[in-house]
């Protein structure tokens, strides 16, 4: 008879304390974050920009600095609010790094608890150690700057054991804690909640139902019913906490997809393959045969294996037809939305690598049992190599191939009353967000497409104006349209880093006025533009929404912390189960208070 207890292959051994693993994460990532490595990542400045608004106007989500005015209720606020909170002590960049550090420390805890559902305590501790060195995590933190994704993933991982516990055992405390953490996770990042939670939850639900049936001799359908109840309560919680998000002023417009390497076929585009699959996996690739063999062989691990397999396939982007069909063809046929060309797939690979970790922990435990110090040395080398390669990848393959300085741009806009006018940056890439968080002037451009309301932008469906050329005719038409209405919007200054845009500006009546950073950036002005005035976009955010937006998400996270502390878990005793289990009967779980 097969055991349904967490899988183990090794006799009892010493389990590295979770505190020590957290210290290890601090030792690895603390210095890198103190060096502010993520500051030059793709999205870090965007998140700092959002946070800067909360730091200055906690209860006013209306931000005048992008799109001539937009509502920040279009993006879940929790990560930004935590940054804003700490920014009063640390300053904005360091506050971002600090929150990211807390997330990085939370991930091993989540991985340990998640892995514990599938494997024994020792293997789970190895999984937690491996999570510290995860290449995909390093890339998301140091290259992509996806703080909300990693934050929400950390919370999701921590919520899953409570979900399991509620679904299997109907423990009320688990329900409370699980719901609170899930709501907080949604208040951090909605995409993770929609796609990530779905991918993580169904294997756990399968496991809970299976355990309830086989181990507790209960009806497995009850677990499913409870999970539905869990989902409903979470959904209600999310609607209450993020109500302004659902009422946020958004223009109904389709987004023209911008090419993204994670949608490539990784075999045909090896550069994308390296960046979005090989480097994120690192030495985990060596464990994949084990994942297949053990995942398919062990009944307990099979839900995780299938969950991992599906997530892996989606993470492969355009390499297989799975993601294009599952997220593109099918939703387009059903609801008219092509998610495939809107989403990026590095986060799916991140989730897939997180799902790999219980297997990795199991493999590590087995290797250590067989070869002890040699195995430890080998595993440590592989882990360090994986993390080092991912961090170094941002150096060897920088996202800004020709870095440039924006200090002079910031100085110009903050002096001599230039903030009276609006500005654009063309070809600035992610540095646009850096400029916009440091200047007082507003822009008609922005870096969060869902929030735009200006008709010139919503009519086209193109993304950022600073990347207009990448959206083809649509993007350039949006830019032309905006330039045509420069006088109405007080758009006087255009900073150009990509000479592609110069012909349009020259023909449209802008003239080059200044040169910065040794010619890397030029300033173009239009002299007859009057000072900018407040744009009437026909939108007002009710004051009460500003108040709930400023309080409920933060309260949800504080409630989650309070519940976790106030209602401690009864710790399951570590135990050893031979694999393949030779026991004649199921091993009983023992619990200790």
């Amino acid at each position: 008879m097969t055991s349904t207890s967490p899988v183990s292959n090794v006799p009892n051994g010493r389990v590295l304390a979770l505190g020590a693993i957290i210290l290890l994460a601090l030792a690895v990532h603390g210095p890198l974050l103190l060096m502010q490595l993520p500051a030059s990542s793709y999205d870090a400045n965007t998140h700092m920009f959002f946070a800067s608004n909360y730091a200055q106007h906690w209860f006013n989500p209306w931000n005048e600095k992008w799109y001539g005015g937009f509502s920040q209720t279009t993006y879940p606020p929790l990560a930004h609010q935590w940054i804003a909170l700490f920014s009063h002590v640390l300053g904005l960049p360091l506050a971002y790094m600090f929150v990211q550090l807390l997330v990085v420390l939370l991930i091993p805890v989540g991985v340990f608890r998640y892995a514990r559902l599938w494997v024994d305590e020792r293997a789970a501790s190895y999984a937690a150690i491996a999570s510290v060195f995860l290449g995909s995590l390093a890339l998301l933190v140091y290259q992509s700057g996806q703080l909300p994704t990693t934050f929400a993933a950390a919370l999701t991982l921590n919520a899953l054991p409570f979900f399991y516990s509620w679904a299997r055992e109907a423990r009320m405390t688990a329900l409370l804690k699980g719901v609170a953490i899930c709501v907080a996770a949604a208040a951090v990042h909605h995409v993770t909640m929609i796609f990530g939670m779905a991918l993580f939850a169904w294997p756990v639900l399968w496991l809970a139902a299976s355990d309830a049936r086989q181990e507790d001799r209960r009806y497995g359908g009850a677990a499913i019913a409870r999970s539905v109840m869990f989902a409903v309560i979470v959904a209600v919680g999310i609607v209450i906490v993020l109500f302004p998000l659902f009422k946020a002023p958004q223009a109904a417009t389709g987004q023209v997809p911008i090419p993204h390497g994670s949608r490539d076929n990784y075999l045909l585009n090896l550069a994308s393959g390296m960046n979005f699959w090989i480097i994120p996996h690192g030495a985990l690739l060596l464990a994949l045969p084990f994942v297949f063999l053990r995942g398919a062989s062990s009944r307990r691990l099979r839900p995780l294996f299938f969950g991992w397999f599906l997530t892996l396939l989606i993470g492969l982007g355009g390499t297989t037809p799975v993601a294009p069909v599952l997220l593109g063809t099918i939703p387009k046929a059903l609801i008219g939305i092509d998610f495939f060309n809107v989403l990026t797939y590095e986060r799916f690979t991140f989730w897939a690598t997180l799902m790999t970790l219980p297997f990795v922990g199991l493999l590590a435990a087995e290797l250590v049992r067989r070869w002890n110090r040699v195995a430890i040395a080998g595993l440590a080398t592989a882990a360090v190599f994986t993390c080092a390669l991912a961090v170094a990848w941002t150096y060897y393959r920088p996202i800004n191939v020709s870095p440039f300085k924006v200090d002079q741009v910031v100085t110009f806009l903050n002096n001599e009353g230039h903030a009276k006018f609006r500005y654009l940056t063309l070809g600035f890439g992610n540095q646009f967000a850096h400029v916009s968080r440091e200047v007082n002037a507003g822009s008609v451009d922005g870096d969060y497409n869902s929030a735009r309301l200006l008709p010139e932008l919503t009519a086209s469906g193109a993304g950022q104006l600073y990347n207009a050329k990448y959206f083809g005719v649509t993007g350039m038409e949006a830019l032309r349209s905006m330039l045509k209405h420069a006088n109405q919007y007080g758009l006087k200054y255009i900073f150009v880093r990509d000479r592609y845009y110069e012909p349009l500006l020259a023909f449209a009546g802008w003239r080059q006025a200044e040169v910065y950073d040794n010619g890397n950036v030029t300033l173009w002005v239009k002299d007859d533009v009057p000072p900018a005035h407040k744009i009437d976009l026909g939108v007002t955010i009710p004051e009460w929404q500003g108040v709930t937006w400023g309080t409920l998400p933060m309260l949800s996270s504080l409630l989650a912390i309070f519940l976790v502390i106030a209602l401690p878990e009864r710790r399951r005793m570590a135990e050893t189960v031979e694999f393949p289990a030779a026991a004649a009967s199921a091993v009983e779980l023992r619990e200790a208070n």
Partner: protein, 365 residues
């Protein structure tokens, strides 16, 4: 054993899915129809696979790969070098079993907006597959020579460091709108005319207009944008055109014109001549103004912009149209141009005037 079989099955499934995604992406199928050959060629251009596109070019074209690449991607900093193919529409004009002519209308995304190009391509059948006979743009090789220049040039002594940024502290050049005409076309109002620099110094000119309704309310506020030559030398005249979409002429009580000028350094160089201007019908029967541009200076003009002003028999401006050329103007080398004329206005056109605006990479002030 059962578990191992499942593992192997899942691994094979992974390989099959990867193969399905990869094989689908790499297929380069021979063209079985003339239209298919042209479409496949441009589809490959669209996906930046020029080598793949070249595979559809007939060896009879006598065009090497590099020349083909330059034809497609542009050269000499021309507008085509700032362009990306976005869409292609094909139509078989005529053909038999071995040869056909296909009209390809391509839509390019360029640095100045969308651009359409129509090209009739000969397609031939070779060893069972259709291939495109690509006619390359011939570039004449000019002999080494000296081009004397004696153009006028105006420089400006810049502000002092104590002055406010952007303040010129000098009187703006005097510019005057010498004609203005408002018409309703395609569901909008179009205001057009000519503006003249009446000063003795060059000016950087723009023209804005505000449409006012019956009760003085603002119906629209637009500028001439790129339908004007912004740099005007002394006594120079430029046409302008300002479009107000979704406004009816009957709603308009008055138009407030706002010409603005700023003193700026300028030179009369480069001099671009316009030759062989004529109004005629193009292959699809639409009215066009054709001619040739000749760069009479010694430096390359990367992006020429043609502005055409059309007058009726009373000398009134009845239309202003413009077109960008996707070919650079090399010194002393004629380049053809064509500007659309509205068919409903063509019969009223008594005379026309062509002015050429330009962008040169090395001459941005």
């Amino acid at each position: 054993m059962k578990g191992h079989l499942l593992a192997i099955a899942m691994f094979i499934l992974l390989l099959l899915l990867v193969a399905a995604g990869t094989v689908r992406s790499t297929k380069l199928t021979p063209a079985k129809t003339p239209e298919g050959a042209v479409r496949s060629l441009f589809d490959r251009v669209k996906s930046s696979d020029l080598t793949g596109a070249y595979a559809y070019v007939s060896p009879a074209s006598n065009v090497d790969k590099q020349t083909f690449f330059k034809d497609v991607n542009g050269r000499d900093g021309s507008l085509r070098t700032y362009s990306k193919l976005e869409d292609v529409d094909t139509k078989v004009l005529r053909g038999n079993g071995n040869e056909a002519t296909v009209r390809a209308t391509t839509k390019w995304s360029t640095a100045v907006g969308p651009m359409f190009d129509t090209r009739d391509l000969k397609v031939v059948k070779e060893e069972g597959d259709w291939k495109v006979v690509w006619q390359s743009d011939k570039q004449p090789n000019l002999p080494p020579q000296v081009i004397p220049v004696n153009y006028l040039r105006w420089d400006i002594i810049r502000r002092g460091t104590d002055d406010d940024w952007g303040a010129q502290n000098v009187e703006s050049p005097r510019v005057r709108i010498i004609s203005m005409n408002a018409v309703e076309k395609d569901g909008g109002v179009i205001v057009m005319g000519e503006v003249r620099n009446e000063d003795t110094v060059p000016g950087f000119v723009s023209v804005g207009a505000t449409l006012l309704g019956k009760s003085g309310e603002t119906l629209g506020e637009e500028t001439s944008f790129d339908k004007i030559s912004h740099t005007l030398l002394p006594s120079e005249i430029s046409p302008y055109r300002i479009d107000f979409p979704k406004v009816k002429l009957a709603q308009v009580q008055s138009v407030r014109m706002q010409p603005a000028a700023l003193l700026m350094p300028a030179s009369a160089d480069p001099v671009i001549g316009v030759l062989h201007q004529r109004l005629e019908k193009d292959a699809s029967g639409r009215s066009v103004l054709r001619g040739e541009l000749v760069n009479q200076s010694g430096m390359t003009v990367n992006i020429p912009h043609v502005l055409a002003t059309y007058y009726d028999d009373a000398g009134r401006v009845i239309w202003v149209s413009d077109a960008y050329s996707d070919k650079a103007l090399l010194p002393q080398t004629p380049v053809p141009f064509a500007v659309d004329v509205r068919d409903d206005l063509a019969k009223n056109v008594q005379s026309y005037r062509v002015t050429v605006n330009q962008y040169s990479i090395d001459r941005v002030q």
